[in-house]
């Protein structure tokens, strides 16, 4: 669309800007402030420069949490994105089934995150949970409080259960916005099912997928409540992700300086990954457009 150059548009932005700035800039500045100081009490504080940052970057516990975090985010993305697209393709499109399936599929998304944790806690317990009990009956010594493998598998299964609907929902909507004429043209060309998917459906899904993948990456990187309720970060620290390490440090141990420095590093990592991803996708689209033109 041809946009008009007009700086008065700032007036339309202003209310939004003030509100978001109140919620974002002031707290962020507080964090920056803490990250370069050592606070003893309200009146005694020392300027420490980059000391906290160095300390945090060299902390083996945090490095391990970061590695776990990346492993987790990449795994759930690799499962949820293809699965979500698949679900969107087989969801019914008309009639009462379409509404019913839509509501059922969306349900996990609208459950508060710690309730999701509770649901899976109840579901996977060996004594009273359907899944835990069944696995034990089948002869597998399933135990998420003792076996890191079980804990990991369960958290990933929970995340797939919880978030695949987001990808499915966005893709379903994207698919519904493709005009029928495209499919008619494909039928005339006797395009195969795969060709229809590759050259008609997938390109139309790019936009929703960008949003879906970005949201999924960000949320999986910030995951807190679900594993906290389900495993409490254990066994040991095998499922302690970044958010939980940070919260323990900031609220539990009151280490303001280090946790502020850690917060900033954490934020910057998410920012960097998202920016790389965003730019890569935008460039790919630009290339596609140039080819067409």
């Amino acid at each position: 669309m041809n946009k008009v150059y007009n700086n008065r548009a700032w007036w339309l932005i202003l209310p939004m800007l003030l509100l978001v700035a109140f919620s974002a800039v002031i707290p962020l500045m507080t964090v920056v402030n803490y990250s370069v100081q050592d606070v003893f009490d309200a009146n005694t504080r020392f300027f420490t420069g980059t000391e906290w940052f160095r300390e945090m970057l060299n902390d083996p516990g945090l490095q391990a949490a970061l590695a776990r975090q990346f492993a987790f985010s990449l795994t759930v993305l690799a499962i949820e994105v293809p699965l979500g697209i698949g679900i969107a393709l087989i969801m019914p499109k008309k009639g009462w089934q379409a509404s019913a399936v839509l509501i059922l599929v969306t349900m996990p998304l609208l459950i508060p995150w710690n309730v999701v944790g509770s649901i899976w806690q109840i579901f996977t317990r060996g004594d009273i949970g359907l899944m835990g009990w069944s696995l034990r009956e089948l002869g597998y010594g399933y135990n998420i409080t003792a076996s890191p493998v079980d804990a990991w598998a369960t958290i990933i299964l929970m995340d797939v259960w919880h978030w695949t609907p987001l990808i499915a929902l966005l893709c379903f909507s994207g698919l519904r916005s493709i005009p029928d004429a495209y499919y008619q043209a494909a039928r005339i060309d006797r395009a195969s099912k795969w060709a229809v998917f590759r050259y008609i459906q997938l390109p139309k899904l790019t936009n929703v997928l960008v949003i879906g993948v970005l949201l999924r990456f960000m949320h999986s990187f910030m995951i807190y409540a679900e594993p906290f309720v389900l495993t409490g970060g254990g066994p040991g620290s095998s499922t302690t992700f970044l958010s939980q390490s940070l919260t323990t440090m900031a609220i539990g141990q009151q280490d303001l300086g280090p946790s502020a420095a850690f917060s900033l590093i954490y934020f910057l990592i998410i920012l960097l990954v998202t920016w790389v991803f965003y730019t890569a996708i935008m460039n790919m689209q630009k290339d596609d457009n140039n080819k067409e033109a």
């Binding site: 669309m1 919620s23 507080t30 309730v115 060309d189 936009n207 929703v208 940070l246 934020f267």
Partner: protein, 297 residues
């Protein structure tokens, strides 16, 4: 396709229909349809199973829950629901959650609408940077902001109020709303704005009377996402409240009593948190099914 075939719209449509019939007869036997339904059913079972288990447990007495595994409630009881709906410490949790979610939806959509309009229609100094900065707020982990938020809202005297949580959730909900709405608004041809201005509409009148009805399904979808992300968030909501505006999600942590976890009450409370979501999806289902392509196209 060879060039000799007629290309009038009618002929093309006929050929499409013929190809359709051929395909229906040949390439899509009934078994394929059934496989599709089978897969869909399998996925829905996967989605519903944990929820069924929660529901099952919420109708059982605590002795039955701990007494052994039963696939459906044998001594059907509503005691947990009765407890939640009569004790104010429980049901106020729902009232508080719904109160701050509604406030947040109202605030977010009110400021996001004009902002999204500006992004979709005008170029101005710093627009691209501003848009990316907005998106970065979506990425800010709530854990990072816990402590500063607590201090900020405590200082301005908003601690333990609904509006504090509503404002805090604006951090990620306003950028999301701008992002989604901008996509919908860019789909409305600019000629409509211009025609309205030529017809003598003032900007506010045009915006409310013409533009907003045109993107109503976009607003519906946006409200759905706003509800979703505000309703499910716990970390900020429970940090910014203590007793006066405590959300249901943190009330639920009280079930860990001295005598262990009150599983029945936990399950019943969990079940009740699912209901508002179902109501909201029910209202927007047609907007979603109609199809939308988010983002800049």
């Amino acid at each position: 396709m060879s060039d000799s075939l007629p290309t009038t719209p009618d002929a093309v449509r006929q050929r499409a229909a013929a190809a359709d019939n051929r395909r229906r007869r040949k390439a899509r036997p009934a078994s394929r349809q059934w496989r599709r339904r089978g897969l869909m059913t399998a996925y829905i079972v996967f989605v519903l199973l944990p929820i069924y288990w929660l529901l099952n447990m919420s109708f059982q007495s605590n002795t039955e829950i701990l007494g052994g595994l039963t696939l459906w409630p044998e001594s059907f009881t509503l005691e947990h629901y009765a407890k939640i709906l009569t004790e104010s410490s429980w049901y106020m949790g729902y009232v508080n959650s719904i109160a701050y979610v509604l406030m947040n939806m109202l605030i977010s959509i009110a400021v996001a609408l004009p902002a999204a309009y500006a992004f979709s229609r005008y170029k101005f100094i710093g627009d691209k940077h501003l848009f990316f900065w907005l998106l970065t707020n979506l990425m800010a982990p709530p854990a990072v902001f816990l402590l500063p938020y607590f201090q900020l809202y405590y200082t301005v005297g908003l601690f333990d109020t609904h509006i504090a949580v509503a404002l805090a959730h604006c951090l990620f909900n306003i950028p999301l709303a701008v992002w989604i709405l901008e996509g919908f608004m860019s789909g409305v041809p600019k000629e409509i704005d211009e025609t309205a201005f030529i017809d003598g509409y003032s900007f506010p009148k045009f915006f409310v009377k013409i533009f907003i009805p045109m993107i109503s399904s976009g607003i519906g979808v946006t409200l759905f996402f706003l509800f979703m992300f505000s309703w499910v968030e716990l970390l900020l909501a429970s940090t910014l409240t203590s007793t006066g505006a405590q959300p249901i999600a943190s009330v639920m942590t009280q079930t860990k009593g001295a005598s262990g976890i009150d599983w029945g009450a936990l399950a019943a409370a969990g079940t009740l948190t699912i209901l508002p979501g179902i109501v909201v999806v029910y209202f927007v289902r047609n907007h979603i099914a109609k199809g939308f392509a988010l983002g800049r196209t």
